[in-house]
Structures are given as structure tokens and as C-alpha cells.
């Protein structure tokens, strides 16, 4: 699966009067501002690879060079220096006829302002790439109708683009790119011109389509939330340079520098981070084969009133409470499975934080996180969940346990209450009764 679909090596793009001189000076270590007299450097030393079937997002503010980069990936802009290869074939420095062939067969594009042909019907717009490939009319219109159905526009083929809403027009834009039937799809701020609700819908639809089609997508955006939502990997650009490439979680939890950190401050972390990103080592975890005494000892050390119990294969078996364990010890029994209670709540490690709040509230223990096979891989205390929403890398580190309260006897001694032991015993009975009720 890790086949490289697209690779950019040390790409430079300089607009202006002496681009090659500017590149030479940039390579020698001069800054973007220093070479301004030779030209404006839009892209400086950009290198990245895009794997087949992934969504690679290039994110940056306007003027960061992201639109220039994407236009170098299909040769709309010539690279001033550096190399772009599609499946190993160079597209930089090749004759224009060969470049057109590659554009027809290998890489298509979706534009920010849709760039539809206003004088052609929707179906004819979608069929445009096929027309350029020389597909006969009946065949290409049939194909266009099929693809329109795929993007949810079945029956709209006869309309003119101007009769459609913005979101629908961009679906036509996507349908047109899909009609070209290329492996690689370049999307230049494809959803930026749409209003927020439609944008969200389109993002979801794109992911849905991607599940089916498995294209290699390079997506340009200035919206970090969009980047985090869509991207398998994200490249963050600033002033023509790529400052960090990583998964959304990498970018969020381990920003490469202050700029990226500042940028990710506004991200809706609850929709990006997953349970697996923020979970902690489960503690205490009792093995099914251990006895109630071991369980009690572990709970006491961890200052917990209950613990998760796992089987031999670390599969989550249930929970055990300190009260049940105490009773069992008093009775002199030793089979932990007899007092096992069902796990109140557990979540998969790929679940985003957004979906953890309700389970976390309902779970009396730190929320259990399991993998696809049901093995306990971690827990998320509510405090951790809250901390994860805050900015900064500290959020995903293990938090220290709260200071254990002083032993009750000592407090009682200070307060001068003599019947401490009796009180404590009564309280414990109370607690046990409550647990009985729950059961």
C-alpha cells in the first residue's frame, strides 16, 4: 500500500526577472526577503511524497505558496528548480505534448471557484475531460450521467451551471475531475468558496467517495479544521517553505515550531484527537487469574475504588470493586471471576474525543480504551479528557495522580473525635449497601 504516487524533490518557484539567480542565492542560504530584488520566491525547497490512496493536505495562509505548489504538480506552473514525478515519471522539463498527455490520463484538478464552462450543460461539463480524450459523444455523456449520480446530482445533467447552487457547482467540478478517471486528484481550495454548512457536508461526501474510489488526493486549504478532518497527512506551509509534515495528530500534539503551534491553537481538537492519542497506561489492571488480595493491594496503591480485570490475552473481562474484593477476602474465597462486574463503558481507540464525553460521564472508572480485538490498551480519566482539549503538548502526557488524602485516623486524631474506628466501619457498611442496591 505504501507505493509512492507523487513525489516533489527540492521544488523552487520564483516569479520575477531573474528566477534562476534567486534560486541560486536561496540555496546558498539567503532568505526570501534578501532575494526580493531578483524575484518573488513563492515556493522554496519543498520536498514531499504522497502515497497512493492517501489524502495529502497542504495547508497554509494565503501567500504561503500552496496554490503555486499544487500548480507545479500538474505543470500549470513550471518549476524554477527541482523535480516532480508522478509514479516515477518526471513531469518537470518535459515537452508540452507529453505534459498534456499526462494531464489527460494521470492527474486531474478541482478548482476553488469551480471553473466550469458556463455555456455548456452540466453533463457536457462533466464530459469535458472525456471529450479531450476523444471519447465518442454518446459514451461520454452516458459516463457523465453515471458520475453525476455518484456525486448526488443525478438528473441535473441538462441544467446550466448557473442554475445550480455553489455546493452543487463544486460537485460538478468534482464529477468532472472524476470523469477524467485519473489516479491523482488535485483539489485547490475546493471547498473554500462554500458556506460552512455546505463545506462540512462536502468534506464528509469527499471522504465517503474516497472510501470507495481510493484516489490519491492532494488537497490545498487554509482551514486547519478542514485539513485535520480530511488529511491522512498534512504539510504546513509558511512563506514558501514547508515547515512540518505529519499526521493530524503529529501536527496537533507535536508542533514543529511556534508558528505551527500558534496555528493549531484554534483547531477543534475534540474532532481530531482520538482516544488512542490521549489515553494513559491503564492502572491498576488486575489479571483474571489473580486473587482478590492482589486486586485489593493494587487498588489501594493506585488509590482507586475499582480496577479493570483482563484475561490472559489482555482482553477486557470486567471490573472488580474494592468492596466486593474485601467481602471475598473476608469470606476466604479466592476466585476473582466470581465477583466480576461488567465493564460500564469502553470505547475504541480510534474514536475521536468528541464522542468520548458521554461515555466518560457514564463510566465510574476512567474510561476504558480497547483496540479492535477488545484488548485493553489504555484508560482516559475525565481530567485527561479535559486537559486534551487545551492547547500545548502537555495535554497528552500522563498526568500525575492527585495527592492521596491523609489517613483518616490521623485526621480524626487532629479533630479530636474518639469514635473514629466505629464511624469508619459504619461508613464502609453504608457503601457496601449502596453497591448492593446498584446490583
Amino acid at each position: 500500500m505504501s507505493e509512492t504516487a507523487l513525489e516533489a524533490r527540492h521544488l523552487y518557484k520564483v516569479f520575477g526577472k531573474s528566477p534562476s539567480q534567486a534560486v541560486r542565492r536561496l540555496k546558498a542560504g539567503e532568505s526570501r526577503a534578501e532575494v526580493l530584488d531578483a524575484g518573488t520566491a513563492a515556493v522554496i525547497d519543498a520536498s514531499f511524497t504522497v502515497e497512493r490512496g492517501e489524502i495529502f493536505v497542504i495547508m497554509g495562509l494565503s501567500g504561503s505558496g500552496k496554490s503555486t505548489i499544487i500548480r507545479m504538480l500538474n505543470g500549470l506552473h513550471d518549476a524554477t528548480d527541482g523535480e516532480v514525478t508522478l509514479h516515477g515519471d518526471p513531469i518537470t522539463g518535459i515537452p508540452s505534448g507529453r505534459l498534456r498527455e499526462i494531464r489527460r490520463d494521470r492527474v486531474s484538478m478541482v478548482f476553488q471557484h469551480f471553473a466550469l464552462l458556463p455555456h455548456r450543460s452540466v453533463a457536457a461539463n462533466v464530459a469535458y475531460p472525456l471529450e479531450l480524450k476523444g471519447v465518442p459523444k454518446a459514451e461520454r455523456l452516458a459516463r457523465a450521467e453515471e458520475i453525476l449520480g455518484m456525486v448526488g446530482l443525478a438528473g441535473w445533467g441538462d441544467k446550466l451551471p448557473s442554475e445550480l447552487s455553489g455546493g452543487m457547482q463544486q460537485r460538478v467540478g468534482i464529477a468532472r475531475a472524476l470523469a477524467a478517471d485519473t489516479d491523482i486528484l488535485l483539489m485547490d481550495e475546493a471547498f473554500s468558496a462554500l458556506d460552512p454548512l455546505i463545506r462540512r457536508e462536502m468534506q464528509e461526501q469527499l471522504l465517503e467517495l474516497q472510501q470507495k474510489l481510493r484516489k490519491t488526493i492532494v488537497f490545498i486549504t487554509h482551514d486547519l479544521n478542514e485539513a485535520m478532518f480530511l488529511g491522512d497527512r498534512i504539510a504546513v506551509m509558511r512563506d514558501g517553505r514547508i515547515v512540518q509534515i505529519g499526521t493530524p495528530e503529529d501536527i496537533l500534539t507535536d508542533p514543529a515550531n511556534d508558528y505551527v503551534e500558534q496555528f493549531v491553537q484554534d483547531v477543534d481538537r475534540a474532532r481530531v484527537l482520538t482516544a488512542g492519542n490521549v489515553m494513559e497506561r491503564p492502572r491498576p489492571v488486575v489479571s483474571e487469574s489473580a486473587g482478590p488480595r492482589t486486586a485489593l493491594r493494587q487498588m489501594r496503591d493506585a488509590y482507586m475504588s475499582a480496577a479493570y480485570v483482563v484475561g490472559r490475552d489482555r482482553r477486557l473481562a470486567g471490573i472488580v470493586t474494592d468492596r466486593d474484593a474485601v467481602k471475598q477476602v473476608r469470606k476466604g474465597e479466592s476466585d476473582l471471576t466470581a465477583i466480576l462486574r461488567p465493564v460500564p463503558q469502553s470505547v475504541n481507540e480510534t474514536e475521536v474525543l468528541m464522542n468520548l464525553f458521554v461515555p466518560a460521564v457514564e463510566s465510574p472508572l476512567p474510561l476504558a480504551v480497547v483496540d479492535d480485538d477488545g484488548r485493553l490498551v489504555g484508560v482516559i480519566p475525565r481530567v485527561t479528557l479535559l486537559a486534551a482539549l487545551g492547547p500545548g503538548p502537555g495535554a497528552t502526557e500522563e498526568i500525575t495522580l492527585p495527592l492521596p488524602p491523609m489517613p483518616q485516623a490521623e485526621i480524626d486524631a487532629v479533630l479530636g473525635e474518639g469514635a473514629a474506628g466505629l464511624d469508619a466501619a459504619a461508613r464502609m457498611d453504608d457503601g457496601a449497601a449502596r453497591v448492593e442496591e446498584v446490583r
Binding site: 500548480r71 500538474n74 500549470l76 498534456r100 498527455e101 499526462i102 494531464r103 489527460r104 490520463d105 486531474s108 484538478m109 478548482f111 476553488q112 471557484h113 471553473a115 466550469l116 464552462l117 458556463p118 455555456h119 469535458y128 475531460p129 479531450l132 480524450k133 438528473g155 441538462d158 468532472r176 477524467a180 488535485l186
Partner: protein, 305 residues
């Protein structure tokens, strides 16, 4: 400063003489083609029964614009007959149509070329400025020298005078096409010729047609001046009226020009923006065709079921 004078006029005269002496063959060919075209069209318009011409003109008005214009055309063209202006009017119409045709055939490719090439644009701009601001009469002089008296110098002068807006608006229209849409054509692998035909020309068409409309209007105003060079038509009548201070004839001939002008202007303006005239015959036909296609499309599933 006494006695110092730049002999520009002499130089131009020398140049004109040189052209006349050395390019006579070429001038003869141009003359022949132009005369054939104008006289052919004039003969066609004058020899055909005027009723037929009027009906065709009215139908054309309805086809591209509206039935109101068709009725207007019917009335005003009949008025031309009533004023006994039919023959000169048709001569003028033929001259204008041929001149505009020639001007468009030259102007549109020039406009496309200058839209794509900055050097061409830089060279063409001052030339166009010169052509447009030079008093129109001046063109008549060398034209008469080259082609002698008659319809040909009139037409050549008309073409030169009417050319600039066609070039300018074509260039403007093509350069005004949304850059992203052109990029889309490139991104899907279209050749420059395919982009020109499939994207740039269709999107620039309203602007180009505005240019064509301007060309025709300028050609019409010039056609009257061409009367001075001896071209038959309403222009000649106006010139005669001026020289004999004949108010009646002047007004009548002038009115004839106005009628032709309104007809040409409305028709060509509608050609550029067909969408703005839904009540035109063309618009109605295309709507009916779309409706039938939709009916077929909805009927298909029923058949399949």
C-alpha cells in the same frame, strides 16, 4: 526656423506612389474582389422584389431578437420604399455589410493574436490609436489614388476606420476570460487551440459581438463619407444634398441611414447576448428542444418499467 519644414507629406506621397507603382497587381486583385462582393450583394438586394427583402429582414429580426423589432423593421423598410430610397439604401446596406465582414475577418484574428502575445499587443496599440483618431476623410485620399473613384476606395477606407474596436474588444474579451476556467482547460490536457475554441472564444463571445456591433456602426457612419469617393448609396445622396443645399433630400437620405443603422444595431446586439432575448424565435426553438429532451428523459424510465 524660416524655410525649415519636415516634409512628412512629401514622404507619404512618395510612399503612396511607390505602392501604386510596385503593388499594382495586388491592388487590382483587392479591387476586383471587393467590387465583386459589393456589387454582387447590391444586385441581389436591389433586383430581388423589395417585398421579399423586407420580409427576410423582418424574419431575421424576429429570429434573433423579438417580434416587436420585426414589426419595426417591416414599417421602417416600407418607409424606405415610400421615400424612393430603396435602391440607395440597399447599396449602402451592401457596402456596410461587406465592409463590416472584411473588418471582422481581419479584426478578430488580430485581437486573438494580440491577446496571446504581449509584443503584438504593444505594437498594435499605437497603430490602432492612430487608425481611430486620424480624421476619416484622410483615408479616402490614398484609397482614391490606389483604387480610383468608386465603391472600392470607399470600402477600403471604411474597413480601416471600422477595424480598431473589433480588434480591441476581441482582445479585451479573451483576456477577460476567467483565468481559472482557462487553467481548467489546461489541467485536463486541452491544447491551446482547443482552449481557444472550447473556452476562450465562447466565453468572450458577448464582448467580441459588442466589438462587431461597434464595427458595423462605425462602418455605417463611414459609408456616408465613402459617398464622397463616389460609392453609390445614401452617402452619395447626402453629399449631393450638401453641395446643392437641398434640405429635403438631406433629411430624407439621413433618415434612410438612421433606419439602416437601427436595424443593424439591434440585430447584431442581440446576436451577442441571445440569453437576453427569450422571446426571439431562436430562444423559443431552443427551449422547445430542451423541453422535448426532458420529456424523453422522463419517459425513458417509464418505458424501462
Amino acid at each position: 526656423m524660416d524655410g525649415f519644414r519636415i516634409p512628412l507629406g512629401t514622404w507619404v506621397e512618395a510612399g503612396v506612389d511607390w505602392v501604386k507603382d510596385n503593388l499594382e497587381g495586388l491592388l487590382d486583385v483587392i479591387s476586383l474582389i471587393v467590387r465583386t462582393l459589393v456589387e454582387g450583394l447590391t444586385t441581389l438586394l436591389v433586383d430581388a422584389p423589395f417585398v421579399v427583402v423586407i420580409v427576410v429582414a423582418a424574419l431575421l429580426s424576429w429570429l434573433v431578437r423579438s417580434w416587436q423589432l420585426a414589426i419595426g423593421t417591416l414599417i421602417t423598410f416600407t418607409l424606405l420604399v415610400g421615400l424612393e430610397l430603396w435602391e440607395p439604401a440597399m447599396q449602402t446596406l451592401a457596402l456596410v455589410v461587406v465592409a463590416a465582414l472584411v473588418a471582422v475577418v481581419i479584426a478578430v484574428p488580430l485581437g486573438i493574436w494580440s491577446a496571446r502575445n504581449a509584443t503584438v499587443r504593444a505594437v498594435l496599440k499605437p497603430v490602432l490609436d492612430f487608425m481611430q483618431t486620424m480624421p476619416a476623410f484622410v483615408y479616402l485620399i490614398p484609397a482614391i489614388v490606389f483604387f480610383s473613384i468608386g465603391v472600392v476606395p470607399g470600402l477600403v477606407a471604411t474597413v480601416i476606420f471600422a477595424l480598431p474596436p473589433g480588434v480591441r474588444l476581441t482582445e479585451f474579451g479573451i483576456r477577460g476570460v476567467d483565468a481559472e476556467t482557462v487553467e481548467a482547460g489546461q489541467a485536463f490536457g486541452a491544447t491551446p487551440a482547443q482552449i481557444l475554441r472550447g473556452v476562450q472564444l465562447p466565453l468572450a463571445l458577448p464582448t467580441i459581438m459588442a466589438g462587431v456591433n461597434q464595427v458595423i456602426m462605425l462602418a455605417l457612419s463611414m459609408a456616408v463619407i465613402a459617398g464622397m469617393a463616389g460609392a453609390d448609396g445614401l452617402g452619395k445622396m447626402v453629399v449631393e444634398a450638401i453641395s446643392t443645399v437641398n434640405i429635403g433630400q438631406g433629411v430624407e437620405a439621413g433618415l434612410g441611414v438612421v433606419i439602416i443603422a437601427v436595424f443593424l444595431d439591434r440585430v447584431t446586439a442581440a446576436l451577442g447576448n441571445p440569453a437576453e432575448y427569450p422571446s426571439s424565435l431562436l430562444g423559443m426553438l431552443s427551449r422547445r428542444r430542451a423541453a422535448r429532451r426532458r420529456a424523453v428523459a422522463t419517459a425513458e424510465p417509464v418505458l424501462a418499467a
